[in-house]
């Protein structure tokens, strides 16, 4: 075991996969010689060569399309889109192509592509470096969608994603790269080295897709969340003194419905929290599933905690971000309801 932040854990996952499997290649903007703008691929081109870790032109549509072609020709590409906000030029290739090649060719062709991309706010990134577009991707049939919240899960999930024969969109909440963040920007940053999930196995291991993690056992309310909001939810429940069961989804597609419903049936109350905008967000899907499966066990209407339905504003980052106050209000509402 070694102390790793999330960047180091992701780097370790890619290092191991490049070493184990000669068909794994990395490609993306600034990822080669430079090691990536967040340094996730640092040292990998030097170690595995320029034919395994490729710098690319600034063309997200081209990156995804080339990854598809490589995948069809037997490679296992891991593409980086520098910010999730830049994924849109690649959406046609992702939605119309990557997600459907297996289906439309009746299984004769497939492209085992993993697309890594940093998402979320809290780094003063303004409206083009802060977005959480996961719901746009979960809405497309044929894609798996993953978002880890800590170094241990990040490494295991990335290895699983790379080994998966289906396309995986791998979102990395960049506010969590260096440490667990509880939503209070004024507190001193906590490094991953001070957190148990920052202790990472240096070898090969996997974390399965479609298996949620119950990060805190509790009796009174279930909080279903993922990514940046996991530690915010933990802190808010603690501050409010609520005995909350907090579930980190880790994988949005496939989704661990059993774990969610078992918990909600036990607690009878549910809050869903994500950083992305509310309207048509992934929380709406969770809400629908919980309602379909747990209606007769619910003691109160389910509450959602989300970002507002506006672009992510530079000057109002912390008014926009769904921090502890917003989580506490939702928890209070579900706890107060008869």
């Amino acid at each position: 075991m070694a102390a790793m932040n999330m960047i180091q854990a992701l780097n370790s996952a890619m290092d191991i996969m490049l070493g184990r499997d000669p068909s794994v290649v990395l490609l993306g903007e600034d990822i080669g010689y430079f090691g990536g703008v967040f340094r996730a691929t640092e040292g990998l081109q030097r170690k595995y060569g320029e034919h395994r870790v490729l710098d690319t032109p600034i063309a997200e549509g081209g990156i995804v399309a080339a990854a598809i072609g490589m995948g069809v020709n037997g490679l296992r590409p891991v593409a980086e889109i520098q910010f999730a906000d830049y994924i849109y030029p690649g959406i046609d290739q992702i939605a119309s192509e990557l997600a459907r090649i297996r289906y439309r060719s009746a299984g004769d062709f497939f492209a085992p592509v993993t697309i890594r991309t940093p998402c979320g706010g809290g780094i003063r990134g303004g409206q083009t470096h802060s977005q959480s577009p996961e719901a746009i991707l979960t809405h497309i049939s044929g894609l798996k969608v993953v978002m880890p919240s800590n170094p241990h899960d990040a490494k295991g999930l990335l290895i699983t994603s790379i080994e998966d024969d289906d396309p995986v969109i791998f979102f990395e909440p960049k506010r969590l790269y260096n440490g667990p963040f509880d939503g209070d920007p004024n507190k001193p940053a906590v490094p991953w080295s001070a957190h148990p999930k920052g202790q990472v196995n240096e070898g090969h291991y996997t974390v399965p897709l479609g298996k949620a993690d119950v990060v805190r056992r509790g009796a009174h309310v279930t909080v279903i969340t993922y990514g940046t909001m996991v530690f915010v939810a933990l802190a808010a429940a603690a501050a409010l003194g609520v005995d909350a069961e907090i579930i980190d989804l880790r994988s949005l597609v496939p989704l661990d419905v059993d774990t969610l419903c078992t918990s909600v049936k036990k607690t009878g109350r549910c809050v869903v929290a994500h950083e992305a905008t509310r309207f048509g967000g992934f929380g709406a899907e969770i809400l629908a599933l919980v309602q379909e499966n747990c209606f007769w066990d619910l003691e109160a209407p389910i509450q959602r905690v989300t970002g507002w339905d506006t672009p992510y504003p530079h000057a109002f980052e912390w008014e926009y971000f769904p921090g502890q106050e917003r989580v506490k209000r939702a928890l209070s509402l579900v706890m107060e309801a008869a």
């Binding site: 903007e29 600034d30 010689y33 430079f34 703008v37 320029e50 034919h51 490729l54 710098d55 690319t56 032109p57 600034i58 063309a59 997200e60 549509g61 081209g62 906000d85 830049y86 849109y88 030029p89 003063r124 990134g125 303004g126 409206q127 083009t128 470096h129 509310r278 309207f279 507002w308 339905d309 506006t310 672009p311 504003p313 530079h314 000057a315 109002f316 008014e319 926009y320 106050e325 917003r326 209000r329």
Partner: protein, 413 residues
């Protein structure tokens, strides 16, 4: 083991610890490239897209058919705008380092592109800039205080706190809002120019992207639509050699010039010395005249050098040779225009020093005024309610409700 089918992987000529080498940059002697008639057809422009239009020679003398014959007073205005851009950049970089603004992007070494082009266009022409065109705002007379208010996201910010620093716009100055996503403005400028033609007015549109961003599909959309409709637009690729850590070979610059993509689409392409104020002015004047007489669009490649980091989040010492800008064969645009004016007897070291001092004082006074409207940490702050405005023209019910929730949340803290 060698395999002839292996990929070509572009490699810059010098990495950290190596000596800068710019022998790959194809140069033409100053004054050597001919100047076609403005009505010439794109297919008759010969090698304009592969040679390099230059006016100022090494002694600072203007030579050849592209001399724009500007009055020295105009040249002094150009020098002032470039120097102001540079001093403004330097000061804002320092304020970022001091934690007063969250982010900054300098245009060091590329000032001639924005300033000379803006001077060669008319005030009614519409500009679709990238994030490294601050000279456009300065040349169009946007007060520095307005730019600084944006950088500070303060109570007088034109973007109402919504944009990263440097993503300015100016409605009255005819400068479009900067996206932050790359190359999107390029085909939009073509659409604006198509509208000008539909409306039968004689305004042209101009847009700028880096050579790195020319890799995006939007670059190709722009050239295609410009070609099909022969729209009155000037499309500029600012080839500053670097896209963050990736050198221009990764945008396809090793095989052919960026300007040569123009003829590939059937539109005029010109390659120009981007650090030569007079050459940039002249080719822009030529392209604008073509657009206004209906002779169609022009793609201009400005050969220049990004002398600074990509942004305040970047460290070029990790990927390129140290002091490389000092070895750039096309020199520095401010120093070259200064040298030219001195050679004309229209400028001196003393006047230059006095101008620099005056502009320094202007930037300092502007900053002093801007911070009275608030900074990230002190003074008045924008009302957070503004976050919900302008998502739509009229605020819909769900946003009104969310605004109430946000107010309650702030009250609870």
């Amino acid at each position: 083991m060698t395999n002839p089918t292996r990929l070509h992987l572009p490699t810059p000529p010098a990495r950290p610890g190596e000596f800068p080498d710019f022998s790959y940059v194809h140069l033409s002697p100053a004054g050597a490239v001919s100047r076609p008639q403005i009505s010439a057809r794109a297919r008759d422009l010969g090698s304009l897209s592969t040679e390099l239009v230059r006016v100022l020679d090494d002694a600072g003398v203007a030579v050849g058919p592209w001399q724009p014959h500007l009055d020295p007073k105009e040249l002094q205005v150009g020098l002032r705008h470039m120097l102001l851009t540079r001093i403004f950049d330097e000061r804002m970089q320092r304020t970022q380092r001091a934690g007063k603004i969250s982010f900054y992007i300098r245009s060091l070494g590329e000032e001639a592109v924005s300033v000379a082009q803006c001077m060669a266009l008319r005030p009614g022409d519409m500009l679709f800039p990238s994030y490294r065109n601050q000279g456009l705002y300065i040349t169009r007379g946007i007060p520095l205080v307005e730019l600084m208010n944006q950088l500070l996201s303060n109570t007088h910010d034109m973007c109402k706190g919504r944009q990263l620093p440097v993503m300015y716009h100016s409605k009255s100055g005819n400068i479009f809002s900067i996206s932050g996503n790359l190359a999107t403005q390029f085909p939009q400028a073509v659409g604006w120019a198509m509208a000008a033609a539909i409306k039968r007015d004689d305004h042209v549109a101009a847009s700028w992207i880096g050579e790195g961003s020319s890799a995006e599909a939007d670059f190709h959309h722009a050239l295609l639509f410009a070609s099909v409709y022969q729209a009155p637009v000037i499309l500029n690729v600012v080839n500053n050699q670097w896209a963050i850590s990736t050198f221009q070979g990764y945008a396809g610059g090793e095989q052919r010039s960026f300007a040569a993509r123009g003829p590939g689409y059937g539109i005029a392409g010109i390659r120009v010395d981007g650090n030569d104020f007079l050459a940039v002015y002249a080719v822009t004047q030529w392209a604008a005249a073509r657009a206004r007489i209906g002779a169609g669009p022009t793609l201009i490649e400005h050969v220049t050098y990004r002398a600074a980091a990509h942004s305040t989040s970047d460290d070029p010492a990790r990927y390129r040779a140290k002091d490389d800008a000092e070895h750039w064969p096309l020199g520095d645009p401010v120093l070259r225009l200064k040298q030219h004016l001195i050679a004309l007897g229209e400028w001196s070291e003393e006047r230059h020093a006095a101008l620099a001092a005056e502009l320094d004082a202007l930037v300092a006074a502007s900053w002093k005024e801007a911070v009275t409207h608030g900074t990230m940490t002190e003074g008045p702050r924008l009302d957070a309610d503004l976050m919900f405005e302008d998502v739509f023209k009229e605020m819909p019910e769900h946003l009104l409700r969310q605004r109430e929730l946000m107010r309650a949340e702030r009250g609870a803290k």
